[in-house]
Symmetry: C2
Subunit: 235 residues, 2 copies
């Protein structure tokens, strides 16, 4: 097994493949939980919602080609992908902003099961500082530096209103955090070397709408325009 562990350099993996690795990991976890020991590339591709040629190409970047006639070892491939992503290690995370979304994220079981451990919830509102959410204390934003130093926090989650998000991001960067997950509906400016990923909760809804539109009797006609053609106003 040690020989197979020598993955190719991470720098060789295209960004689009990186974005699919968590999807493969989720599919493999579901297969493992169902007791599946080996799977074909077709089965795994279908579970992950990609075509099998793309899956095989993606997995080849990890040096994982399966075994002809047998397929992939589910448990091993799962470990291999988890290791490549980095979720075999423990990631201390802080969540800033404990409105409904911040609380939902603090309670979200899918973070912990992927190695993301919420070490602190930070909020500007002093009246919230006595609370515990999902077992984690709510602390003043001013404690950020101490928390980052204590826990080695590398990832910050911004769940504040849009108005506060940039200032929060600036403070996270000042505290040494170089990876930010932004749920606030605004674009954050950060220095080079800091990664920001923005979650848009409407993306999946839009993909559903695309397919729903094609199922509907009205086809792709637009009975109630919500976005009018605005070419005229651009002059």
């Amino acid at each position: 097994m040690t020989a197979r562990s020598s993955a190719v350099s991470a720098r060789d993996i295209p960004e689009a493949t990186v974005a699919r690795l968590p999807v493969y990991l989720r599919a493999l976890t579901a297969l493992a939980e169902d007791g599946t020991v080996t799977c074909s590339s077709q089965e795994l591709a279908s579970a992950a919602g990609v075509n099998s040629a793309k899956l095989r190409k993606d997995l080849s970047y990890l040096g994982s080609y399966g075994t002809r006639g047998v397929g992939y070892d589910v448990a091993y491939l799962r470990y291999q992908i988890a290791r490549q992503i980095g979720v075999t290690q423990d990631w201390p995370v802080v969540i800033v902003g404990i409105g409904n979304l911040g609380q939902a994220l603090a309670n979200y079981s899918g973070f912990r099961s992927r190695g993301f451990r919420v070490v602190a919830l930070l909020d500007a509102d002093p009246s919230r500082h006595q609370e515990r959410i999902a077992g984690v204390a709510v602390r003043p934003f001013g404690d950020l530096d101490a928390i980052v130093a204590e826990h080695g926090v590398a990832i910050g989650v911004v769940a504040t209103p849009a108005e506060a998000a940039q200032e929060v991001a600036d403070r996270l960067v000042d505290a040494g955090i170089r990876s930010i997950l932004n749920f606030a509906p605004t674009v954050l400016a950060v220095p080079a070397g800091v990664d920001v990923r923005k979650v848009d909760l409407s993306i999946e809804l839009q993909i559903l709408a695309y397919h729903e539109q094609r199922k509907s009797p009205q086809g792709d006609s637009s009975p109630t325009p919500a976005i009018a053609p605005i070419q005229e106003s651009a002059s």
Copy 2:
């Protein structure tokens, strides 16, 4: 402009392209809000985080090729993509489950701005039925059929705990809903003809972790294994 409006049949658009259309739409909306009138494929590709060859290929499925030396008309392309996705029409949506996540979704401005209108919030808990969240009344789950009939709801959002999600999905399908967005951490079984998309809030966090791991001094070593190799236990 009418001649350019004749998009190719939606059935010709690959699923991976469909999944990127909302990302292009978001990038175009940001460009339009900045007052940008035309943009090159490189600019748009960069704003959307894809390479420009892929962008041009994707847009060619919409029959949109830009103008050589000028690029794409931002407002028109935005309308064209919105129309292709279906978000130029109004989509009545119900949200089931008003815990923290359901409330966060009810308050999420990104739904309304893309044409998704939350017409009802449904919850099993009678003590919540007097509440209004973001101006929308919380109603008993038993009102589902009447609400679907009244508003022509086509999309249901499941934001319940995992244990309740399958029963809720069954009821949504019985009420005639054929598109379900599932935030509950469970896999839903639905009949053929019903689309389910599952939101995994940890996917973006995993992509950040991938890059963070490569920035860290410890490289890709795994000091604290959160997922151990489990090949042995699969026998």
